[in-house]
């Protein structure tokens, strides 16, 4: 009897433990189930949120069109920017050109003013000398005046050379320029026996002298447009300035521009 009671007790104990474990396992399963449900709800929410974030096909199409439109706008702006850049460059070039023209006009004005404000031949020649040296950059040059008999170009003043000799009209570059009145221009380079530049000095059509340039200052590497304009000015103006100065000097320093002289000259001729 004692053994069977013991067995029953053991069975009961076993069953109690068994059911207790079963109950605990069931509770654990329920908790796990709860957690999983919660995660499922969370995941569903996330999926829904992501689904909302993904644009619809229509929105996507709209966005692609917007991108295309922005790309077009960017290309237009880049094109305009390039145009503005080119315009800016052109304006800068034009500005430099105007500055050069302005400087050239200033040189011409100063040269004309100075050469015509000289009142004696020495002053005219000094001004001519200064123009050639300072404005043109000539280093070795001479000014010749035509001696009608015996048709020789005689040097009146020279710079950077020991006594230039007289040149018969028609001989060499100087003589030919003195004869024809056509200027001679070659590129700036090492000095040689013949001048690099030779221009006539004219009183209207009459050639009264020549300016010959053999060499230029070391920094003068080429003849510029402004130099040719100055040469043209000297061709037309230097001789008349020299003639006016000669007239003034011939009048004993007194200006030949007097009322009685002018009035006499303005009287109608019969």
């Amino acid at each position: 009897m004692g053994d069977s009671d013991d067995l029953v007790a053991k069975q009961k104990e076993f069953l109690d433990a068994f059911f207790k474990k079963g109950a605990e396992f069931a509770e654990e399963l329920l908790r796990e189930n709860e957690k999983l449900r919660f995660r499922v709800v969370k995941l569903e929410e996330q999926v829904a949120e992501q689904a909302r974030a993904i644009p619809s096909a229509a929105t996507l199409k709209e966005l692609v069109e917007k991108i295309h439109s922005l790309e077009k706008e960017r290309d237009t702006l880049l094109g305009r920017f390039s145009e503005v850049e080119t315009e800016g460059r052109e304006y800068a070039e034009r500005y430099s050109e105007i500055e050069r023209e302005n400087a050239s006009l200033a040189s011409l004005y100063v040269a004309t003013y100075q050469i015509h404000s000289a009142h004696d031949p020495r002053q005219v020649l000094r001004t001519l000398h200064e123009i050639l040296l300072n404005f043109v950059g000539a280093k070795t040059f001479a000014v010749y005046v035509l001696d009608d008999e015996p048709r020789l170009l005689r040097p009146l003043t020279a710079e950077g050379m020991d006594g230039a000799g007289a040149v018969p009209l028609g001989e060499g570059i100087i003589g030919r320029v003195g004869e024809t009145g056509r200027g001679y221009y070659s590129e700036v380079g090492p000095a040689g026996p013949e001048p690099r530049v030779c221009i006539p000095l004219q009183l209207k059509e009459r050639i009264v002298g020549v300016v010959a340039i053999w060499d230029f200052l070391i920094q003068k590497t080429e003849l510029l447009e402004g130099d040719f304009e100055l040469f043209d000015l000297l061709v037309a103006q230097a001789a008349s300035a020299l003639e006016a100065a000669c007239l003034a000097a011939g009048a004993g320093g007194a200006s030949p521009l007097r009322y009685d002289t002018l009035a006499g000259l303005l009287e109608p001729r019969e």
Binding site: S96, E99, R100, N102, A103, A106, S107, Y109, V110, A111, Y113, Q114, T127, E130, I131, L133, N134, F135, V136, G137, K139, L217, I218, Q219, K220
Partner: protein, 122 residues
Amino acid sequence: MTALVVEDSPTMRQLVVFALRRIRGLAIVEAEDGVDALKKLQSQTFDIVITDINMPIMDGLKLVHRIRGDDALKHIPVVIITTEGGSEDRARALALGANAYITKPIQGPHVLATVKELLRIP
């Protein structure tokens, strides 16, 4: 601002003055040589001196030397104009205290740019 142009040749002086007239508000005073320039420098204030080298009585290099040796004048920027275009001449002028060196034949825009730079005019 006032600039002093020192040059014995009236032709050259007028050309430099013409170029400088493009700077708005710049007054220009002219001197015929170094001695004339020093007199003017002592009687009024200048912001810049532009001088030729070859001049009678007192040449441009002596003038620069005198300016740099005078406490009241040594701060004035000096531009030298010369016919000498060699690098040695340039170095000599700059060593004497010139701030810039312009060779003949002068170009108006170059004179203008040099003076503007020294006067810090945009």
